[in-house]
Amino acid sequence: MKKIQAITLSAKWKERIFLLTMMAIPVAHFLVFFVYINLDTVALSFQSLDRSPSSSGEYIFVGWQNYREIFRGLTSPYSVFTKAIRNSLLLFALNNFVLLPLGILFAYLLHRKMPLAGAFRVIFYLPSIVSIVVLTMLFSFVFDSTNGIINPVLERLGLGHIIPEDGWLRSRDTAMKMVLLYCFWAGIGGNIPLLSGAIQRIPEELREAGRLDGVGFFGELWHIVIPLIGTTVSTLYMFGTTVIFTIFLQPKLLTGGGPDGETYTIALYIVESIRESGELTMGATVGILCALIGTPIVAITKRLLEKIFPTYEY
């Protein structure tokens, strides 16, 4: 009987096999869900479904047609896409120039143990941990024309004339304002935990030194706190910038993009164009354009923020 000789591997090979095994899943994940999907998206943006009678439903190369169509849409007075860009920029401004500064202020106030700080901590943070579906429903109910509590209150106050005939969420004048109001309400607490954590890490002696030099409440905030939490502020600002291309659930759940496309965002436009037509090509084209425009914006913003908020060791 032939003796089977056991295969022995050198330690080096064992290490290689171990590393390969460990790497296989993340690498496969990266290749499939990043490399393949992105390459496929680029390819799709140059294709369109062939609907001719002789077609068998394949996607055909159409050159720059999808891109031309989007640019043509941008110049059309009836384009939903133009409204989507406007609204996405508004939400970006709300996030970075309203919610972020307010977040810093409130986090600082909470840290300074303002009266009822504990209660305010819960009030600010609660909307951030409740499901967006529940929050949007709640918000819609509050402003509902029949059962909502806002309209009767306004009527009692003699402000019935400002209630829109078509309802707050369906009037062309108020719908986007309501989406912004919702984002303000639901988003104001979102930054506070991170900012509070950053403020707490500031050494007490630095603030004491400031106070000894006669720095007041706002002076301390401006000259000591904000520079020292600069990296956190930069990160939050970067997140706030990406909403230009990512935010869609809020208008989707509140208004469905209506009325008349008034509350569309770029991301909602992509989602709806795929959902409505069942076709991926226009969504892919908008996605590629967003990446082309967004990547340099994010990169430049990051550079600028690094200059404005240098990292301090403490």
């Binding site: 609907r51 068998s56 029949t146 005939e165 078509d166 062309r172």
Partner: protein, 503 residues
Amino acid sequence: MKSKCAKIFCVAAAWLFCGIFPSCGGGSEPIVDEKGVIIQDNQVYYLDPDVEGDSLENKTRIKITFAETGFGRTWLENAAKTFVYENSEYWIYLDGDPEVTTGFTNKLETGAAIADIYMVLASNWYDLALKGWIEPIDDVYDSKPDGESGKTVREKTDEVFLEYSKATVRNETKSYVLPWNENVTGIVYNADMFEEYGWEIPETMDEMVALCNQIISDTKGEVSPFVYPGSVGGYFDFLVNNWWLQVSGVEKVQEFFDFGSADVFNYRNAEDPSYGKLVALNQFNRLFGNKATGTYNGEEYSYTLSGSASKNHLQAQQSFIRGEAAMIPNGGWMECEMTNSLPDGFTMRMMRTPYIDDVSGKDGQEYISYNYSAQPDYMLIPSKANNIEGAKKFLSFLQRDDILKQYTRDTGSARPFEYELDSSFDYTDFTDDCLEIWENSDYNYFEQSKSALWLNGKVKLYNTVSPFTRIRSGEMTPAVFCGTEYNYVKENWDIWLSEIGAN
């Protein structure tokens, strides 16, 4: 000590799992009908007592995923019960999903957890046929569900719907879908309120406007004549498309939907296809525009309930049921849809869309009656279905006379096939009204188009902006909307043609 703790933990965990999970997946009690057909956990099956050891394992499954919305599931359960009783080699799994229409295409593409039959709401199936994801069903259309002496499904199918079922793929034209229902649309009204105040059902638009004023004055402005679901599209089409048909007739409206040239959007002369669209939007303006108001005690009241624009269909229907409004534009499914919310004794009925006074019946002619049935919901078999043969057999069976009659009894709605209604059955007043409109309309019509511009999404029924929003707010008159739209379409027509490779 450590191992003891581990043991205790394991026992506790096992106990917890055994305790919790069986109670989660408990399953329902079987319901057995008089023939012995069993319904349990969405499964419909018949164990034949004459077959020894008959069990589910010996049978082939037909899985049906259907949009469980307005018409509910009773009709399908009843059809499935009859089918499995007569074809005991099959059992049926009924998977009701109100949102199936938005998600089923992914399943058609991947074949994962796929059903054998999908019954979905009105949507674009043409691309699915092009991509080869759905099975041609000409053999279903050629089958004879009523037996060899009966008619084929094709012969029983309404011509308009037969045309709708066809798509041309690789130069071959085949039927791919089976229409589910033929809707009746119009105006649903609160019959109790009408009786209480002695309001007459209006036949013409002038009478309708007079009625709206009367409702406001009789109820001292407390009841609005109309509520509508403004956050859900399509409900105004039920009225506006009907008026358009009254003005232009089926041929002109179909000429519009064939999109032969940009001139189908011309609205200036009575012969132009879009002239009727303009007149119809004017009628819309009379009832729903910002000047559509009546007065009581010197105060103006809108014909529509405030905030209607922000209501979805269920909220609007609830407002109607609560008596906040006397009428609502809706369809034959509404009674079925609201069954569980109707207060005891509440009676709703359906009236025909009013005739435009000086159009349909001019020169002493009879009014031509139309029912705008809206795009149909439909049934299809995926190419990757596991049981195509069983699925085809079931689809053919659904067109059997007795099953069609059963459908109407269960849903109060008709299917677009040739069959006699069950006159002995005690339908509700609402269903009676709907069936009367369906049977006695000169034309039942819905829009369909095989135009490449339409299929590619370049042209729509309304282009530029939503006319309903702008007309309601007073920002645009119907004429301004039609003019703007015509100019926009003319400017872009050649570009669109070149984009779809037709220029």
